[in-house]
């Protein structure tokens, strides 16, 4: 089967680029120094390839944890997010097939962890991104409370998400150091073996954590293009040209098959005008014909993947590439 046989829009993963991305990360951060984040691809078949390099995974939702355990990938999961309904995690742990460490940043999330049957936590520390995370100076007290409640505290995590797209390496290093100084201060109070943080944008700059929660590196997107990273764009959306007019054409991918929060997708050799629900209007440099297939580069992979039921592993960059395997995007939903 080639991609000409696929119904469009369809998610394509370039096998060569994916393999190179996984190998590059494994070389830079071997074994437990990278804890791949599955929220970027939500696909256990892809996570199995990452498991050849790295023993643990990061997840963002309870559903992702459940799916990873069901796929036999639950040996060491870090749920790097706050949850109130931890009972589903306790149920997973009760099955005996999983180790799940949950992030907590408040008395309320600690209480939920205890009530839900969670056994191990990390203290989520605010290192500068205004999102979840306890203030660094309060991390020790929260860890003490967790231990007093019978939980094991494995360490700290802190995500410098606001630095992922800083283009200048020296600036990125400086800001990362400032953020990580907060995390290390918290860790001095908390203890434990895990100092977890970082992402694809800071995987090289962040030399302070002992595990990096990188996700985007596997598939990549155009938002990371200017960030000076070695990883290749592996994910494209295959679309069909369904209409051609004077000066523009229309492909059958749009707001329901492309994550739009980072802006319009990119079409090589064309200018994208706008997307609507099922359409992308673009001005091609060379004439296109109704029925042509094109490969569209999404601006942000995570929400793009979340819109698709499956992704196809393909050989080669063209529009007649062979389909090697088809993977279910099986970690979607909540």
């Amino acid at each position: 089967m080639t991609i000409a046989d696929l119904t469009t829009p369809a998610l394509l993963v370039d096998a060569e680029a994916l393999t190179a991305n996984l190998a590059d990360m494994a070389a830079a951060l071997p074994g437990p120094r990278c804890r791949p984040h599955v929220k970027a691809h939500k696909t256990t078949a892809l996570a199995k390839l990452q498991a050849a390099h790295h023993p643990g995974f990061t997840v963002a939702t309870i559903r992702e944890a459940e799916g990873m355990v069901a796929a036999g990938l639950g040996d060491d999961l870090l749920l790097a997010n706050e949850v109130l309904d931890a009972r589903r995690l306790g149920a997973l742990l009760g099955s005996g097939d999983a180790r799940i460490t949950l992030a907590i940043d408040s008395d309320a999330t600690l209480a939920a962890a205890v009530a839900g049957g969670v056994r191990e936590v990390v203290i989520d520390v605010n290192v500068g991104l205004p999102r979840c995370g306890v203030a660094p100076e309060k991390a020790g007290a929260l860890a003490d409370a967790a231990r007093a409640a019978g939980l094991a505290v494995r360490g700290v995590m802190g995500y410098e998400g606001h630095l992922m797209l800083v283009p200048d390496p020296a600036e990125k290093a400086k800001y990362t150091e400032e953020c990580m100084a907060k995390l290390l201060a918290a860790h001095a109070d908390v203890g434990g073996e895990l100092i977890s943080g970082g992402g694809t944008g800071t995987y090289a700059a962040n030399t302070w954590v002992n595990e990096v929660q990188a996700g985007s590196y596997a598939l990549m997107d155009t938002a990371y293009t200017g960030a000076g990273l070695p990883f290749r764009q592996a994910l494209t959306v295959l679309a069909t040209v369904i209409s051609v007019s004077d000066g523009y054409a229309v492909a059958d991918t749009g707001l329901k098959s492309l994550g739009m929060d980072h802006g319009n997708p990119t079409i090589p050799g064309a200018q994208v005008w706008f997307c609507s629900d099922e359409h992308t209007t673009f001005a091609p440099e060379e004439p296109v014909t109704v029925g042509d297939r094109i490969r569209v580069l999404p601006a942000h992979i995570d929400p793009t993947v979340a819109l698709h039921e499956r992704m196809h592993l393909v050989q080669g960059p063209g529009v007649d590439a062979d389909v090697i395997e088809t993977w279910a995007v099986d970690l979607r939903g909540w």
Copy 2:
């Protein structure tokens, strides 16, 4: 069951607002004068409520057509989009349970319709939005070619999508008239009983078409708030506050549960700062507590719904509303 029992994020549909929206549209455009577009909600259970008022439906994808036929709602479907793989439509028609009219705007889409076993088409006319649609002066020739190929031509369609959010009613009416003059000119050459177009934003202004393809009116979104429409916001995303810091809080809905192409969602009584994959950071006017539930208004419903597996019909606007029914969003995918 109340919405307190739901896993978040969750799509909620306010039953009273939905019922009022459906009744208001049925009063304004009774029976066949509205052909509800299911792309906005992708839910056959909701379409069944619309079928009490209107005999035909508009769909945007082959999958939507298949799902509507499977749900017994295939009596008169207009696939208001260009497709190249029309064989799946021919297969639906072969079952004898469906009437499907397909939009065409080129010789290539005409050929695909014929090859796929489609029997009835409309000519899709470009009325000003740079997307699909043949130039008005070429519509007659395409209709002739379709009839020569053995197809029935039921009329024309043209979508003035670029006018949906024009705030001033007089301006909207003037621009709509200009667009519809093109559609009527095409119809004079094409013939047939259908003059189809319009949407929620122009349902009242567009007095030239004989059926309006409105979709958003059923659930509504904040992008339509300034458009002076009588329809109420029926769709919200239920989220849980998972973290509270000085000056801001975080809820567990983000880029994977909210369509973002029209910008950030709205949280009544709060300022939304930004969304990330699983989070919305917001500054509440009144203090919130970890574990609180909030109802978030998406900026654009269509891509929001496409991210969810189900929606819950609820009674009342509060965070302890009763859940009346749960509907599968069963028309997703391609």
